[in-house]
C-alpha cells in the first residue's frame, strides 16, 4: 500500500482533471439548453439535477476507492448477477407490454428505465460496469482464451446480458459492450486470428442481422448512408435496385424524416464554425430544434457554442483519459487491475467514439451518452463508479515483485518459459523501482512482507526525490 486512498498519481490526476473539464463543459451546455430555449421556464432544472448526480457519482467513486477494486473484485460475479437481475423486470415489461403500475415506464417504445420515485434508474448502465468487472475477474489468471475454445465461455457469459439488453431494446449498449469485450480479450492476449475469426463470423452474419433488425433501427443506419446526395438521387431514380436499403419515399423525405436528427446535429456543428457562437448563443442553443441536445447530441451543442476549438478541446480531454487509463493499465502488475483498467478505459473511449461519431454523421444514431458530459443520472453514476475503479487500480500497486501479467510472447511455442519475462518498462520512476525490486529480489513471492517493506521504502525514497525535483523545477520555471 503506497498511498492513502485520496492521493492520486499522475495518470489519475490527468484523468480527474480531464473529467472535471468535461463535466464543466457538459454542465455549461446543459445549463444553457435548460434556460436559453423557449421551454426553459422551470429554470436550470437539468443542470441542477446533473450537479446532484455529480455529488452522488463522486460519493460512489469515493466509496469504491475506499473499498478498493480488489475487494470489489471478489464480489464481481455477485454484482454481475445483481445487475442481470435488475434487467429481468425490464425484459418482463417488454414481453408483457406492461408498465407494472408505472414502475417501468415505456419511452419511445423501449423499456430501459426503472422508476424509483425521485429518479429513474437505467440498469443497463450499471450492467456495463458490472460486466467489465466480472470479465476482468474471470480473465485475470487464465490462459485458456489463448485457444479458440477458451473464448467461448466469456462470449457466452457476455451473450446473456447482451440478449437482455437487446430485448429492451437498447442497441446502443450492445454496440458498446461487444467492442469492449473484444478489446479486453485482445488485451488479455487472445490470439488475433481467433478474434479475427469472431469478427469474420459477425460480418458474415451481418445480412441476417440486417433482416432481423427493426425498421427504425434499419432506417437509422440507412440515414447515415443517405447523407450522400448521389445515393439519394440514385434511389429516387431506380428504387428497385436499392429496395434492400430503403424505399424511394424515405430517400425523398430523408431530411425531414429519418435524417432529421442527423441533419440538425450536423447543421449545429457546422454552423459553429471555427470559434462557435459563444456560450449560450446560437440558434441551436436558443431554440429547441435539436432533439436530445442535452444528452445524446450534446457534443453538437458544444461544437455549436465553441466551434472547432471547443470540440477539439473536448476530444483532447478524452484523449487524456485514454492515455491516463492506458498508463494505469501499463503500470499495474496485478492482472485483475490491469484488465479492469483496460476494460474501463475502452468502455469510456468506445462510448465517446460512438457518440461523437454519430453526432458528426459518421455512425448511425443510437441512444449513447457522451461520458461525463451528457445529462443523465445513471450514466454519470456508472461512469464515476468506473472511474473510481480505475483510480483505485492506480492507487493499489502492491505486486511490485510480480511479473507483468498478460505478457505472452508473440509466438508461444515453449510453454515452460511463458510466465517469466524480463520487465521492459523504463519510463517512470515507480515502474523502474518495481523492476529494480524484481531484479534484486530474483523471486516472484508477491505476497512476502519483506519484499513489500523493501519496495515501500524504495518507493518512498523515490517519491521524496521526485517531489524535491518537482519543487525545484517549479522554482526554475
Amino acid at each position: 500500500m503506497t498511498r492513502t486512498w485520496l492521493q492520486f498519481d499522475a495518470p489519475s490526476r490527468l484523468i480527474l482533471a480531464a473529467i472535471a473539464f468535461l463535466f464543466l463543459v457538459g454542465l455549461a451546455s446543459i445549463y444553457v439548453t435548460d434556460t436559453a430555449a423557449i421551454g426553459g421556464h422551470d429554470g436550470p432544472r437539468n443542470a441542477t439535477r446533473q450537479l446532484v448526480y455529480l455529488c452522488v457519482g463522486i460519493s460512489a467513486a469515493m466509496v469504491v476507492l475506499r473499498i478498493g477494486y480488489r475487494d470489489l473484485g471478489r464480489w464481481s460475479y455477485a454484482i454481475l448477477a445483481l445487475a442481470l437481475l435488475a434487467l429481468i423486470p425490464l425484459m418482463m415489461a417488454k414481453l408483457t407490454h406492461s408498465t407494472f403500475g408505472g414502475l417501468i415506464p415505456e419511452r419511445r417504445h423501449a423499456y430501459r428505465w426503472i422508476n424509483l420515485g425521485l429518479i429513474d434508474v437505467q440498469p443497463s448502465e450499471f450492467m456495463k460496469v458490472a460486466f467489465i468487472v466480472a470479465l476482468a475477474w474471470y480473465l485475470r489468471f487464465r490462459r485458456n482464451y489463448r485457444r479458440f475454445g477458451g473464448l467461448i465461455r466469456p462470449l457466452l457469459a457476455a451473450a446473456v446480458p447482451l440478449a437482455l439488453i437487446l430485448r429492451q431494446p437498447d442497441l446502443g449498449t450492445c454496440t458498446l459492450l461487444l467492442p469492449v469485450l473484444l478489446i479486453m480479450l485482445f488485451m488479455a492476449g487472445a490470439q488475433i486470428r481467433h478474434l479475427a475469426v469472431l469478427v469474420a463470423i459477425g460480418l458474415v452474419t451481418l445480412p441476417l442481422t440486417w433482416t432481423q433488425m427493426r425498421n427504425y433501427q434499419r432506417s437509422r443506419i440507412v440515414a447515415v448512408l443517405l447523407q450522400s446526395d448521389a445515393l439519394r438521387r440514385a434511389i429516387v431514380e431506380s428504387p428497385q435496385r436499392y429496395s434492400f436499403l430503403t424505399d424511394r419515399r424515405s430517400a425523398v423525405e430523408w431530411k425531414a424524416d429519418s435524417g432529421y436528427q442527423l441533419v440538425a446535429s450536423k447543421t449545429a456543428i457546422g454552423s459553429g464554425g471555427l470559434a462557435g457562437f459563444g456560450w449560450g448563443r446560437g440558434p441551436y442553443v436558443e431554440h429547441a430544434f435539436l432533439p436530445d441536445r442535452h444528452n445524446d447530441l450534446i457534443f453538437a451543442v458544444i461544437a455549436h457554442q465553441w466551434g472547432l476549438v471547443g470540440a477539439g478541446a473536448v476530444l483532447i480531454a478524452y484523449a487524456c483519459i485514454a492515455v491516463g487509463g492506458a498508463a494505469i493499465a501499463a503500470r499495474t502488475t496485478e492482472p485483475f487491475g490491469r484488465m479492469l483498467a483496460i476494460g474501463i478505459t475502452s468502455l469510456l473511449m468506445v462510448q465517446t467514439i460512438i457518440n461523437v461519431g454519430m453526432t458528426v454523421g459518421l455512425m448511425p444514431i443510437t441512444g449513447m451518452n457522451l461520458p461525463f458530459v451528457s445529462y443523465g443520472g445513471s450514466n454519470l453514476l456508472s461512469n464515476f463508479l468506473a472511474i473510481g475503479l480505475l483510480v483505485s487500480v492506480a492507487q493499489h500497486r502492491p505486486f511490485l515483485l510480480s511479473p507483468k501479467p498478460f505478457e505472452f510472447r508473440q509466438r508461444q511455442r515453449r510453454r515452460s518459459s511463458v510466465l517469466v519475462s524480463a520487465p521492459r518498462s523504463r519510463g517512470h520512476s515507480t515502474a523502474r523501482a518495481a523492476s529494480i525490486t524484481a531484479l534484486t529480489n530474483g523471486s516472484m513471492s508477491g505476497g512476502s512482507k519483506r519484499a513489500s517493506r523493501i519496495s515501500s521504502s524504495i518507493n518512498s525514497l523515490i517519491r521524496s526525490l521526485y517531489r524535491s525535483l518537482r519543487w525545484r523545477s517549479t522554482n526554475w520555471g
Binding site: 423557449i38 485482445f186 441551436y284
Partner: protein, 729 residues
C-alpha cells in the same frame, strides 16, 4: 506484448479520433458557411402571409358596390378530418403534448387523456353542427368532401411522383364552417376553445350590397386557374404573384380592373420562438378602390323599371337599358334584366344555367347583339345627306311598297301598324318626315343610292362593329358588314342587302351599349368611346363628316318621332317637362325565335333510338350540355334539333322582333321648342327582347326612363349634382 497491444489499442483510438477530427474540420471549416446559412434558415418559422384587402368598387357618388367583407372560418386540422367520427389513437396523439398542461388533464395518464380526446373529437362534429344550425349529417358531408378532395390531391401527386407521399393539404386545417360574420367570431372562439384541433381563422368574402341590379356589370371573382398562374404578369414579385388559393376577377369590372383591385401580400416572419423579425416584415398593400361612372341609384331604379316592363309583356324574356352622359360618354347605368344575386350564385347556378328561356346569366347590355332596326336610320340619313345622295328637301314618295306593281311587292314594304295588314303610305317625304314616320321606302332608295361602302363607313364612324371602349371582356363588338366583311364571307352585295342595311336589318348587329352610344353621337354630333371607370380619361372625340344643317335635320326628325302627332313614338313616348323634351327613335328589329330546348336522338349499336330533351341556346350548346350530363361526347350521327323556342309557343319560321327605343333629352328654349344650340346631356337606349314593336313596347319604357332620369339626376340632369347626393344618400 501487452504494451505492444496497448500501443495498438491506443493507435486504434487515435485513428478514430483523427477520423472524427477530420470530419469536424470538414463540417466546421470547409462547409461552415453552408451550415451557417442552413442554421439561419432553420431559425425562422415558415413566413406567415399577410393577406391584402381587395379594392372596393364604388359608384360615381362613392356608394360601395362591391367590397371584401371580413368573415371567419371555423377550420379543423386535416388529421382530425381524416379520422372522422371514430378517431383512433394516432389521430389524437399529436395533441397529447399540448393538452397535457391543461388543468383538465393535470395528473392524468396518457391513456386517459387520449380517451378524453377521442370523445372530444366526436363531440367536435356535433358542436360544429349545433353552432351553424345544420344537421350533423351536413357537417359529416362537408367533412367527407374535404377528405375526398385531399385524397384526390394526394392521388394526383402520387401519380406525378410515382410514389405516395404526404401533401401540404394534409398538414393544414380546412374550413368546416365558412363565411361567419364578424359578430359571431367571439362566439365561435369560445365554442371551440377546448378543441385544440379547431381554429377560427379570418377570411374574407366578396359582397355586392347592391344586389341583382349590378351583378353582371360588377362581375364575379373565382379561384385562380392554371392559365392565370402561368401567365401571371407579376410572377417576378413573390408578394404580388398569384397563389393557387387566391381569387381573381373573372367577369365584369372585377376582371377589368383586376390589376388595380388586387393588392400585394405582406409577410411576417417569426423566429422559432415566435418573436417577430422586424427586418423581414413586409406590410401588405391593399388593392385600390375603383370608381365607376355608374350611378347605383339610377341603376337600381332602371332595373326595377325594366323588370316591370318585362313583366308587362309575357313574350319579353328580358332586356337592357344603357344610359350615357353625352359630354363625357360616362355610362351612368347599364342595366340587364333578368339578373341574379351574386350571393346566391353558387347555390342557384344550375337553375340559372338551365333557364335558357330568359337567360339570366347573359349580360345583355354588353354581350348580346341585336339588329339595330330603325334606330340606325338617322345615321343612314346623315350618310345620304353628307354624301349628297339626298338633300334636305329631297322628297321620295312612299306608296307603302317599294315596287307596288310587282307581285312580290310585300317583301319590300313599308311598315305596318301592328298585324293589321294595312299598309302604311307615307306619301312624298323628306328626311325629317321619313325619320318621323320611320319610312322604309325612303330608306330603301337611300340605301341603294349610298351603296355598301359609304353606308358601312358611317356605321364604322359611329362605332358599330367595334368595341365601345368600356373594356369589359363580355362586350361583343357587333357586326358592321363592310365590303371586307362581306368578301370574307363570300356575300354578294345585292340591292336587297343594301335595302336591309339601310333599315338596320340584315348583317348589321349592335349591342345595347353601342346603341346608347349611337344615341349620344346623334345628340352631340360626334363620336367618342364610352367610359365606365371614372378615372380613365375621356375618350377622344371623332367627328362624323356632316354639316350642322345635316345634324339639325336628323335631330329634328328624332324630335318629331316623339313630339309630332305623326311620329312613331308620339302615342307611346311623348314626354317633356319645362326644360327638356324627349327625342328618340323607335326600332323593331326582326329576328327569328330563339331555340331554348333541343331534342337529341342517339342510336345505340342495335339501332334503337334514344331521345333526350335538354335545355340549350344552340345546337353546340346542347351538345355540350349532353356531354356534361352524360359524361360522354355526343356521337356525330346524333340528331340535334330544336324543339322549343322563345317566345313560348313560337314556330321556328315565325318572324319575331326586338323592340328598340333610343333617345336623348334635348334642352328646350323658353318657348318650349328644342334649343339645338345646347347639346343633350343624356342619351339612352332601351332594348326589349322580343318586344315586337319599338313604338308600342319600347316607347313607354323610353318615356319612363326619361321621367326617371329627371327624378334621379335632377332638373339639370347633372350626374354629379351635389344636391342630388343629399337627396339620394
Amino acid at each position: 506484448m501487452f504494451k505492444l497491444r496497448l500501443t495498438y489499442l491506443l493507435g486504434c483510438f487515435a485513428l478514430a479520433g483523427v477520423a472524427i477530427a477530420a470530419r469536424l474540420t470538414q463540417l466546421q471549416v470547409f462547409e461552415a458557411s453552408h451550415y451557417r446559412a442552413e442554421a439561419d434558415a432553420v431559425i425562422k418559422r415558415r413566413p406567415q402571409t399577410l393577406p391584402f384587402v381587395r379594392g372596393r368598387i364604388l359608384d360615381r357618388t362613392g356608394t360601395i358596390l362591391a367590397a371584401d367583407e371580413p368573415t371567419w372560418d371555423v377550420r379543423v386540422d386535416y388529421g382530425i378530418i381524416a379520422a372522422g367520427q371514430n378517431p383512433d389513437e394516432s389521430a389524437v396523439r399529436p395533441y397529447l403534448r399540448s393538452v397535457r398542461t391543461w388543468p383538465r388533464f393535470q395528473g392524468a395518464a396518457d391513456d386517459q387523456i387520449i380517451a378524453a380526446l377521442k370523445s372530444d373529437v366526436q363531440r367536435t362534429w356535433r358542436e360544429l353542427a349545433a353552432f351553424e344550425g345544420v344537421s350533423p349529417g351536413e357537417i359529416e358531408q362537408r367533412r367527407a368532401q374535404i377528405h375526398a378532395r385531399v385524397q384526390r390531391i394526394r392521388d394526383i401527386v402520387a401519380d406525378y411522383w410515382q410514389f405516395d407521399r404526404p401533401v401540404r393539404e394534409e398538414r393544414e386545417a380546412h374550413p368546416l364552417i365558412a363565411g361567419l360574420p364578424e359578430s359571431r367570431q367571439i362566439e365561435a372562439r369560445q365554442a371551440f376553445a377546448e378543441f385544440s384541433w379547431v381554429e377560427v381563422r379570418s377570411s374574407s368574402q366578396r359582397v355586392q350590397p347592391g344586389g341583382a341590379a349590378l351583378t353582371h356589370l360588377l362581375g364575379r371573382t373565382a379561384a385562380v386557374d392554371r392559365d392565370t398562374l402561368r401567365d401571371d404578369p407579376d410572377f417576378a414579385d413573390p408578394f404580388a404573384r398569384y397563389l393557387p388559393d387566391e381569387v381573381h376577377g373573372i367577369t365584369g369590372v372585377e376582371w377589368l380592373e383586376e390589376r388595380r383591385l388586387r393588392g400585394r401580400r405582406g409577410q411576417l416572419v417569426r423566429d422559432a420562438d415566435g418573436r417577430l423579425l422586424e427586418a423581414e416584415l413586409v406590410e401588405p398593400i391593399n388593392g385600390d378602390d375603383v370608381r365607376l361612372t355608374v350611378r347605383a341609384d339610377l341603376q337600381q331604379r332602371l332595373f326595377e323599371l325594366l323588370a316591370a316592363a318585362t313583366l308587362e309583356h309575357p313574350e319579353v324574356p328580358g332586356g337592357a337599358i344603357v344610359v350615357v352622359h353625352v359630354p363625357t360618354r360616362d355610362v351612368l347605368a347599364m342595366v340587364t334584366y333578368p339578373s341574379y344575386d351574386a350571393a346566391d350564385f353558387a347555390r342557384s347556378y344550375n337553375a340559372l344555367r338551365d333557364d335558357t328561356g330568359t337567360l339570366p346569366l347573359r349580360f345583355r347590355a354588353a354581350s348580346n347583339v341585336y339588329a339595330p332596326g330603325s334606330i340606325i336610320k338617322p345615321l343612314v340619313c346623315l350618310a345620304g345627306l353628307n354624301e349628297g345622295k339626298i338633300g334636305l328637301d329631297t322628297r321620295i314618295t312612299c306608296e307603302g311598297y317599294l315596287f307596288p306593281d310587282r307581285p312580290d311587292a310585300r317583301t319590300s314594304r313599308c311598315w305596318e301598324s301592328g298585324d293589321t295588314g294595312v299598309r302604311h303610305r307615307h306619301g312624298p317625304v323628306n328626311v325629317e318626315e321619313a325619320l318621323r314616320g320611320s319610312c322604309n321606302v325612303f330608306m330603301y332608295h337611300l340605301g341603294m343610292d349610298l351603296g355598301l361602302e359609304s353606308m358601312t363607313t358611317y356605321f364604322h364612324l359611329a362605332g358599330l362593329g367595334s368595341p365601345t371602349g368600356v373594356g369589359l371582356r363580355e362586350e361583343a363588338t357587333g357586326w358592321n358588314p363592310d365590303p371586307y366583311w362581306m368578301a370574307e364571307r363570300d356575300r354578294a352585295v345585292t340591292p336587297g342587302i343594301l335595302r336591309l342595311l339601310a333599315m338596320g336589318q340584315g348583317d348589321v348587329m349592335v349591342t345595347p351599349l353601342q346603341a346608347a352610344n349611337l344615341m349620344a353621337t346623334y345628340a352631340e354630333g360626334q363620336f367618342r368611346p364610352l367610359r365606365i371607370i371614372a378615372d380613365r380619361p375621356i375618350g377622344p372625340a371623332s367627328f362624323l363628316p356632316a354639316t350642322h344643317a345635316h345634324w339639325a335635320a336628323i335631330r329634328n326628325g328624332m324630335y318629331q318621332v316623339v313630339n309630332h302627332p305623326e311620329g312613331t313614338a308620339y302615342k307611346h313616348a311623348y314626354w317633356r317637362n319645362a326644360r327638356y323634351a324627349l327625342c328618340g327613335k323607335t326600332g323593331s328589329a326582326t329576328a327569328p325565335p330563339r331555340p331554348t330546348r333541343y331534342r337529341i336522338t342517339t342510336h345505340d349499336g342495335a339501332g334503337a333510338a334514344q331521345t333526350v330533351i335538354l335545355p340549350g341556346g344552340s345546337s353546340a350548346d346542347a351538345r355540350q350540355r349532353f356531354a356534361y350530363e352524360y359524361g360522354r361526347e355526343l356521337p356525330d350521327d346524333a340528331v340535334v334539333e330544336p324543339v322549343e323556342f322563345w317566345p313560348p309557343g313560337a314556330a321556328p319560321t315565325d318572324q319575331e322582333a326586338h323592340a328598340w327605343f333610343g333617345g336623348f333629352l334635348q334642352p328646350l328654349d323658353g318657348r318650349g321648342r328644342p334649343d339645338w344650340t345646347r347639346p343633350a346631356p343624356i342619351a339612352f337606349a332601351v332594348l326589349l327582347e322580343y318586344g315586337h314593336s319599338g313604338g308600342g313596347a319600347g316607347g313607354p319604357v323610353g318615356r319612363r326612363v326619361a321621367e326617371l332620369l329627371i327624378d334621379v339626376l335632377g332638373p339639370e340632369l347633372d350626374p354629379d349634382a351635389p344636391e342630388l347626393l343629399a337627396r339620394h344618400p
